[in-house]
Symmetry: C2
Subunit: 347 residues, 2 copies
Amino acid sequence: MASRAKATILDIAREAGVSKSTVSLVLQGSGLIRPETALKVRKAIEDVGYVYNRSAANLRKAHSNVIGMVINDLTNPFFAEMAVGMERVFQSAGIVPFIANTAENPVRQEEVLKSLMEQGVAGLIVSPARGTTPGAFRRIETAGLPIVFTMRRLPESRIPVIAPDNHRGAKLATAHLIGKGHRRLAFFGGSSDLVVYHERLGGFREACEALGIASRDTLVVEGETSRRGGIACLETALAMAEPPTAALCFNDAVAFGVMLALRKRGLEPGADFAVVGFDDVVEAQHYMPALTSVAVDSAGLGERAAHVMLKMIQSRTTRAEDHIGAVNLVVRDSCGPDRRAGMGDAA
Amino acid sequence: MASRAKATILDIAREAGVSKSTVSLVLQGSGLIRPETALKVRKAIEDVGYVYNRSAANLRKAHSNVIGMVINDLTNPFFAEMAVGMERVFQSAGIVPFIANTAENPVRQEEVLKSLMEQGVAGLIVSPARGTTPGAFRRIETAGLPIVFTMRRLPESRIPVIAPDNHRGAKLATAHLIGKGHRRLAFFGGSSDLVVYHERLGGFREACEALGIASRDTLVVEGETSRRGGIACLETALAMAEPPTAALCFNDAVAFGVMLALRKRGLEPGADFAVVGFDDVVEAQHYMPALTSVAVDSAGLGERAAHVMLKMIQSRTTRAEDHIGAVNLVVRDSCGPDRRAGMGDAA
DNA sequence: TTGATTTATTGGAACGTTCCATTTATAGGC
DNA sequence: GCCTATAAATGGAACGTTCCAATAAATCAA
């Protein structure tokens, strides 16, 4: 055990009675080597317990076969689903994605990006942490390293983005709520330092306006994008003089929180208060009641991001088109009609 | 932009008018350098847009500051929670963990491990994929690379394991069920190629035996460790002549599936059929009804695994003690008394 | 046979760091 | 002023690959 000084290609060469260059060629699967020689070498590789040293190789070769995937919140199942989509396409391209979590912390993100770059990754797929400064990716851009954003974009950045059509999704969901008869609507969760927030809120507002809901009848409550945030939003909203009867939530986690808080107050989500989520994570359909949500096809976005990255690497460019993924509203059981319309409120 | 030929410490040296050795020293934060010189160098580093090349450094230095974390199912929130725990301790040690997903695929696992090793990681924390062959980690062991398993162990391996006390957890949960008056019990989900499965099932059996449940009154249904698996298990069980009235599930995902399937049949989880989960993921407390589950402290296990790894790296050993984490049963609302047994207890 | 071609193999010079052994500059003691 | 001790900076040899240019061996055309 504690095997002394790890084996190098020179050890293999000695063992197999060939030159180091031959070994190198075999390792790269070159067709130039006579099959019997290759076999001999491969045997020697086994015998000495050799581990390829990519650091050494990277010193000469331009780039590695690893790409970094930087995610802002690993505990959000949404990102796990996206990661799985990416992995599917990278795997078939012989690329190994390494995932790193920033936990929404820009400082941590800085460290992670630095580490990934030092490691010599071939490209970066990033879902930026909240509060990322515009200059945070300058380094990477000047290094000419391919990078694509997923889900979130930065205010004024030329980096390509793969994201769902947030604006349309929010419009769809809001129209659904209004169609159910709701007249006092809320938008729950998220915060204005996120571009996505503005997109979704924009869709919400546009639908309200188009369908004749006065802006004084809309309520916007910022908050954490988590269950806890949802709970807080609902509390705030119900404390108002004329509380809303329905809410579009920034994402499913917030929606789950809202439903939880409703239950705690003895209100039935869906019947007493309508709620729509965003993202349509797998749990959405298993909740009680099942959550109506805007499906964004997370795995599909992941695949798309991976494809774009692959293309950028191959064509050694750092430019690419944005990609706005289609969305659709999945109607389940969390939005009944407005009950109070007509008869004051019961709560 | 597109700055060709990336800058090296030689470029910095030229820019700052010092030698490459000096630059290297500054990079490592050596106290040997005069502060003004260091400042000058640091400025030059900024100016040329330098990116540290860890590959080159690794060629001389023994090991890097990255450790690999290989996970068998990223979409299981349990692992995300564990990952977060690990990250907490690694971060403060200046180590960046790279996460890779194997999706329960031993072949993929092989690739991932290879890639991580080539990358020159300082250590590996692995939750092995189902169906991993005993020899899969031979390579890593002979290379003298520190490795620890989490959650799962391999049949006959000397690699240290960080895992919860599965046996005790299952016993606790089963005793709880029996205490509620249930006499026909099931164990749902998991499969016998997992050591964990035998541990949990063993605890279940031991409790049954100790508390006077005949083994013909117990039912064991293997199945996927997912919601889907849970649904299937329940269907199978209810199709029996004398179906069980309560089940211990292999993990929370299975339990969620069971509850879902119960609802679909018009049965109320908790009242009509008792179910207890394993792992106590965050969703457990938010479910309807809230799920009684064996809490294993996932984040704590992650932290512990990280600490063990850190110690192994520092003491450059490849040995470490196993660590069996404490468990406790969190009683919520998913297990009522057995209704069919006359009247059982009043709780 | 001889030279030309093709097929296999090989030595050596990079790649960008680290680190040891030196050198050079600075300060102190007398 | 000289010698010594300390502080600061430096050159050069690794580290384990890749890749080019060169060589050696085998094949072929004449």
